[in-house]
Amino acid sequence: MTLQTLKQNLRVAYAAFVITLRMNAPDAFVLFTIVVQPLVIAVMAMWMLVERGAANALYVVVGSGMTGLWSTLLFMGGNSINWERWTGTLELMVGQPTPVSVIVFGKNAAVVFQSLLSMVGSYSVAAILFRQSLVVEQPLLFAVSLILTTAAFVCFGLVIAPMFLLSPAVQHFQNALEFPVYMLCGFLFPIALLPGWTTPLSYLLAPYWAARALHGTSTGGASLQETLFAWGMMLLLGLIYLLISGWLTERMLYKARSEASLRLE
């Protein structure tokens, strides 16, 4: 890839990022997944854990925020290619010179960026409604973890989006994917509470390492070594997701062009 191509692709990703933010802003479904649902989860979890102190409250804030992040990515990011098909713009997206995955990257980045709001909402609930004093113990490490979390979630979304278009059968299970990932990634409780055979599955999911990094740096419960390891896993899995998504997107496009399914007639 030349410097010129890189510049052009970055410009396209940024354009996709901006229009997605603008189009999602008035969307009631987006509002529900990034604000209402995480708030409901945060309120319920806080009621259960409010007596156990500030560290638990912070765990709930970060965890419920991550549920918003995942739900938004699953429904909005997962459908980012399908949505173009439903609105009749997928043919235009495919028939132009920029690789489709660059556009999906920009769209997913917007979705994940927007869903960070859910963490702000959860924080506000804990601080105002439950009068918890919430202090992030390792703010610098937490900020870096948040940036890497955003990148890891965007890459994860790049795998889901072509898969949903490639196989409608997989998309039928879209709703069912929401809660298992909450649990497998330890958003709201440690995965040690789950049966041992699920642990390898958790390790393959970048959101699990994101949850570890965010929980660890916010509550101060993780050593620097543990945080660095979680960052490394996020980067490694993100890279693997990128490679898989590139292959999947190519296959998806070839299949759609062969089967004439770029447009809903």
Binding site: A15, I19, T87, L92, Q96, T98, R257
Partner: protein
């Protein structure tokens, strides 16, 4: 020096596969395009004319790299549409008729700004080109409004602006005037002529004969996936120069009467179009006005309001080629 065609199509074929049945699923094949071949010269305005379902849109989708052919080859600007799709995409523009394909929650201006990014138009170029194109398509006053408030004609004009953003060398226009009001359609046709004057190569599909006659230098008539004629509009019209056309407005004509008209030895084709409670009947015949009394005999007992005998048009050539009203 050898001059290459801008579009070269050889034995292009496309079959759609679909399944029917619930418990016992069977694969059904529908041949949309059946081995067509043609060339479009640089700077030519070439028409693909045919009824609905003839294979026009399928052909355009293959040429714009959006659909992979079942067999055959095609090259656009010397590049293969399957193996070199990426190289073609930056140099062509396309529109498909209809309201879809725009971001309704964004303004017309923002739609164009987004698409200019996708086509790698430099921001400083886009800043000048977008207002120019909005002006060109008559949307300068409405460019800042959301597309959801646009009429169908305005959306179609925005599509034209979108497809010109990156100044493509070849344009594929699939039924661009469909659904437009007469004034809007006339403006759009003038716009297409202006684009051709800028030496753009244009492949236009339409099922309006007069549109093909007015705009195209050559026309391929496509029916049931096959090209049944390919020539200039004048040459196609000359194919029916031996015929006259008798047009009649009849009330309450049943299918048996139509068959009796078709059975007359001097009748070439009969097409019938239902308009409200009457039927507009068009008979192509070699006997000209002399055929009228015999036609009236067949229509005896029915109310016939208007009878006109006229010279054949491109539409009549088309009707003859695609088999009348059958």
């Amino acid at each position: 020096m050898e001059v290459h065609s801008t579009v070269e199509v050889r034995d292009l074929r496309r079959v759609y596969r679909t399944t029917i049945g619930v418990l016992r699923r069977r694969v059904k094949e529908i041949v949309a395009v059946e081995g067509i071949s043609f060339d479009v010269a640089p700077g030519e305005l070439f028409g693909l004319l045919g009824p609905n379902g003839a294979g026009k849109t399928t052909t355009v989708k293959m040429l714009t790299t959006l659909l992979i052919p079942t067999s055959g080859t095609a090259r656009v600007l010397g590049r293969d549409i399957v193996k070199e799709a990426d190289a073609i995409r930056a140099r062509i523009g396309f529109i498909f008729g209809g309201e879809r394909g725009l971001y309704w929650r964004l303004s017309g201006y923002d739609n164009l700004r987004y698409f200019s990014s996708l086509y790698h138009v430099e921001p400083q170029v886009a800043r000048k080109r977008i207002p120019y194109l909005l002006e060109l398509v008559g949307l300068a006053d409405r460019g800042k409004e959301k597309v959801e408030g646009y009429s169908r004609g305005m959306m179609q004009r925005l599509h034209i602006a979108r497809t010109l953003l990156h100044d493509p060398e070849v344009l594929f226009l699939d039924e661009p005037t469909i659904g437009l009001d007469p004034v809007g359609a006339r403006e759009l046709r003038q716009m297409i002529l202006n684009l051709q004057a800028e030496a753009k190569t244009i492949l236009l599909t339409t099922h309006y004969m007069f549109e093909a006659d007015l705009l195209c230098q050559r026309v391929a008539v496509i029916n049931k996936g096959r090209i049944v004629a390919l020539d200039t509009p004048a040459a196609l019209k000359s194919n029916v120069s031996d015929l006259a056309v008798v047009e009649m407005e009849v009330f309450g004509m049943d299918p048996q009467v139509v068959e009796r008209l078709r059975g007359l030895p001097f009748v070439d084709t009969v097409s019938v179009e239902n308009v409200d409670q009457r039927q507009a009947v068009r008979v192509q015949t070699r006997r000209g006005s002399e055929a009228v009394p015999d036609l009236m005999n067949v229509l005896a007992g029915l109310r016939v309001d208007r009878v006109v005998v006229r010279e054949p048009t491109l539409e009549d050539a088309y009707v003859r080629l695609v088999g009348g009203g059958e």
